[in-house]
């Protein structure tokens, strides 16, 4: 069995985000064999190595089997085993088009970046926008809110989904929003309604970045763990939203696909 596996040719993609590092292992037929997500921490080289090791373990593969690895994300230049790198914009587009080969608008909500990426029916990027210099509406905003409310990140989705009403926030600013939330708590407003308002704030920040065209697809860690946020977005834009099977992995998958393509060129 081991010998047979050792003959495989595999490709790796690692997405070192500001918050989380993601790795994906694929074979020549673009099947995902293994993957992993872990905190990026402060040592991106270490986290990318550990993340890759876990993904390889899941794929029952050895590092020596990797034909080519590509990196992406904020810490892409810190990945020592990568032969090449691409920006996360390009990798998300590549990874999403792999799942859904159609013209689409991708909304990626990351740890400190939000992106809106437009892809045509041939998988080519036609446009993209990143959030302006402020991190309002990103994962960092949600983390700050959870910290202030003493709510676990894993509890956000359930709370928002259980809300009977919604308390919308007025400010762009994360710090002022937290003050606004605490003021509402002091006034006896339900936590669930506030959490739904916090989700609403994230969605509004994203939707004001660009117009949405074609089919809409959502990715990123926030989407992976908060399906209710996707449901709220669907209600707001009055359209069904596609979510890939592993929404946090599309960047890493895209990097692995670029690695595969580079071998073919």
């Amino acid at each position: 069995m081991r010998n047979k596996l050792a003959e495989r040719i595999i490709f790796a993609g690692v997405d070192v985000g500001a918050s989380r590092t993601k790795a994906a292992i694929i074979d020549s037929d673009k099947n995902i064999l293994g993957w992993n997500v872990r905190k990026s921490g402060t040592n991106f080289t270490l986290s990318s190595n550990l993340c890759l090791a876990e993904a390889l373990s899941m794929a029952h593969a050895d590092k020596s089997e990797i034909r080519i690895a590509y990196s992406t994300g904020y810490g892409r230049k810190n990945v020592t085993f990568a032969a090449g790198s691409r920006t996360e914009i390009g990798c998300h587009a590549k990874g999403c088009y792999h799942y859904f080969p159609i013209a689409m608008t991708i909304i990626d909500i990351g740890g400190q970046d939000n992106k809106i990426i437009k892809v045509d029916e041939n998988g080519k990027r036609t446009n993209f926008k990143m959030n302006r210099k402020c991190a309002a509406g990103t994962g960092a905003f949600l983390e700050e809110m959870c910290l202030r409310l003493d709510v676990g990140l894993e509890d956000m989705n359930g709370l928002a989904a259980d809300a009977e009403g919604i308390i919308k926030l007025g400010s762009y600013c994360t710090v002022f929003s937290a003050t606004e939330v605490l003021e509402n708590i002091r006034n006896g407003k339900p936590l669930a309604d506030l959490m739904k308002g916090i989700f609403y704030s994230v969605i509004k920040r994203v939707l004001e970045m660009d117009s949405l065209t074609d089919k809409v697809l959502m990715t990123g860690g926030v989407v992976a763990y908060n399906p209710y946020l996707v449901k709220m977005t669907e209600e707001l834009i009055q359209s069904e939203i596609l979510v890939p099977k592993l929404p946090q992995l599309t960047g890493a998958l895209g990097a692995a696909l670029f690695a595969l393509e580079s071998r073919q060129q």
Binding site: A82, S85, E88, I89, G90, R125, F128, K133
Partner: protein, 414 residues
């Protein structure tokens, strides 16, 4: 580890001559400021400098000083001093950093030329063709130095610069002559004005030719080179030195064109920069683009010191026309026509819009222009957020990712 590509940029040999002329210019101002044997006028960068020269004033440009504060990356430390006396962090960061520089007596002229402080003005002259901030900037110094403040209020955002506008501006410029006679102690001499206008025109035509060489492939000059080498067009126009300098620069660049030498190694992508430079990141951006084989080779910013309408036989009207037909003064409709011509003339693959936080008047992406131009021309664009001088407004990593992703997009779509 993926390797950072070491960019190769070509050094312009004429730089030494430019530095010599610029040093002489600042020392002449410093000497006059100390001895008071010649009058000094401060003037906005696209103000009626020719008129001031004709009265014998030495002309100093606070915006040039602002750019130096930005390029030397001391502006960000100085801005808070102006904020603390009531000048908002949201207004022009040339203004706030320059006032901060004055308040703390910290000027890049000291390190560059051994000059302790900026020259003291005898008169402050503005033209609001750029923005209102230049007037308020000069007003601060008028109060501080107790010297006269005079200027031109140009109607802003016209699509067509018609005769009514030109006549109004021309009369305002002409009207300043009366006050300038009194301040300078010299009678207005139309022949002197004509002579200065002729020199300015010569400078402008040479500078225009320098920038037009970027239409060749590969481009012999980059936008980042242009932001440095436009110095003489800004502060020395109307003098022989400016003409002499651009003749030398032009010869060198023509040689590059003849030998197919580009400003960067292996130019693959041709980029247009719209808006202000980010002065404190010139080197970083120059390296970033060069490393991506992208030559940022044209801009409206560097073209702002081309005054083709100058005509010595009709100085006031032609000055009014030249200073009002500038890109920055105009409506979005006029600006868009201009940019579309530039895209064609310079074979542009993509446009970078710089949304400068404190410079709304020269951030041309705020009223839907990028999407309109992209739809009409098919040339893609991105907007990066930053500022001319206030580095607190910049997220370098985000800008880098944006720019890299943009070049990737151009490459993928070829």
């Amino acid at each position: 580890m993926t390797q950072e590509i070491k960019p190769i940029r070509k050094k312009i040999e004429a730089t030494g001559l430019m530095n010599k002329y610029m040093a002489e210019y600042f020392h002449e101002l410093d000497d006059a400021s100390k001895s008071r044997d010649r009058k000094i006028a401060w003037c906005t960068s696209v103000g009626p400098a020719e008129l001031l020269h004709s009265f014998g004033f030495l002309v100093y440009y606070p915006e040039n000083h602002g750019a130096m504060l930005g390029a030397t990356r001391i502006a960000t430390d100085l801005i808070p001093y102006a904020n603390a006396i009531g000048y908002s962090p949201d207004i022009c960061s040339y203004l706030t950093s320059d006032i901060g520089s004055y308040l703390t007596n910290n000027t890049p002229l000291t390190k560059a030329y051994g000059i302790k402080s900026v020259p003291k003005p005898d008169v402050l002259v503005f033209n609001t063709n750029q923005c209102r901030d230049v007037q308020d900037w000069m007003a601060w110094y008028a109060y501080e130095f107790k010297v006269p403040l005079i200027g031109v209020n140009t109607p802003r955002t016209p699509t067509e610069v018609n005769d009514v506008i030109i006549e109004s501006v021309a009369k305002q410029i002409e009207g300043m002559a009366v006050e300038l006679e009194e301040i300078s102690g010299n009678k207005f001499d139309p022949n002197k004005l004509k002579a200065v206008m002729a020199l300015s025109k010569e400078c402008t035509e040479l500078w225009k030719e320098v920038l037009s060489l970027a239409a060749t492939k590969p481009s012999p000059i980059s936008f980042f080179d242009g932001t440095i080498h436009m110095g003489p067009a800004v502060v020395l126009r109307g003098t022989q030195h400016a003409v002499d300098y651009y003749e030398v620069l032009l010869t060198e660049l023509k040689e590059r064109v003849a030998n197919k030498v580009g400003a960067i190694e292996d130019e693959k992508y041709r980029i247009y920069w719209e808006g202000m430079p980010i002065w404190g990141r010139l080197r970083q951006h120059s390296d970033l683009f060069a490393g991506l084989n992208a030559c940022v080779l044209a801009s409206t910013y560097c073209n702002s010191w081309i005054f083709s309408d100058f005509d010595e036989s009709d100085p006031f009207t032609s000055m009014a026309k030249a200073y009002t037909e500038l890109f920055i003064v105009r409506s979005d409709a006029a600006k868009e026509e201009y940019i579309k011509k530039m895209i064609k003339a310079f074979s542009i693959d993509g446009i970078i819009y710089h949304d400068a936080k404190t410079c709304p008047n020269n951030s041309n992406c705020r009223y839907g222009m990028p999407r309109r131009i992209e739809t009409e021309t098919g040339v893609p664009s991105i907007t990066i957020n930053g500022d001319l001088n206030d580095l607190r407004m910049i997220s370098d990593e985000q800008n880098k990712t944006n720019i890299e992703a943009f070049i990737e997009q151009i490459e993928e779509n070829r």
